[in-house]
Symmetry: C2
């Protein structure tokens, strides 16, 4: 409780508390990261790097059943990560914007991952 710390440590702790984002911001960020943290959803995002895909093709590329993929796409859409537009019987999904891919790539750099070719 008393901590053997030098005064500057306590000051840092107080600053950290003062600069803590609001609960609401934390929740939003949490929602975003949670959305992109599940392996099945990550694969969907990787698939969509290729461009617009219908649900069946997403399922084919990312693996999983139609139902499971549809459920996951709904979560991604609810979090503003993908968008959907209807074209006839199909609904085509695509990445909502470049930020998500940027986040993925930055994270990949952190992990020194090979995320697969972007174009070929």
């Amino acid at each position: 409780m008393t901590c053997n710390h030098e005064p500057e440590h306590r000051i840092a702790a107080e600053l950290a508390k003062k600069n803590m984002p609001k609960e609401e911001e934390v929740e939003k960020l949490s929602g975003l990261f949670k959305a992109i943290s599940e392996p099945s959803r990550l694969k969907i995002l990787f698939a969509l790097r290729q461009g617009e895909l219908c649900v069946q093709h997403v399922a084919e590329a990312a693996g999983g059943t139609q139902s499971a993929v549809s459920h996951q796409l709904r979560i991604l859409k609810a979090n503003g990560i993908v968008r959907a537009r209807r074209e006839g019987q199909n609904i085509l999904y695509s990445l909502a914007d470049g930020h998500v891919v940027a986040v993925l790539e930055l994270a990949a750099v952190h992990l020194k991952c090979d995320m697969g070719a972007e174009n070929e």
Copy 2:
């Protein structure tokens, strides 16, 4: 199953499958995002933007009990997100590198979040 799609759509789907990262890479990314997706852990990371902090100070700044924070720090450490070094009785935690903060800030831009002042 047949899809009314034009051939180029099928080609895109095949490319998406071909460029899918390996299961191992997906798991690593998933682990990273999962690690930073829990509100309590996010708060810990925000606290550590301030610099090295001992567990008690992290708990104070981010909220939560000593035990809960310690559990969370272990997860963050296991995922290479924070590092720890002992100094006397205290163990000081800090962000492992700048990538994570960069990811957080990029995500915040995506969400148009205000993550709190970086310096003041």
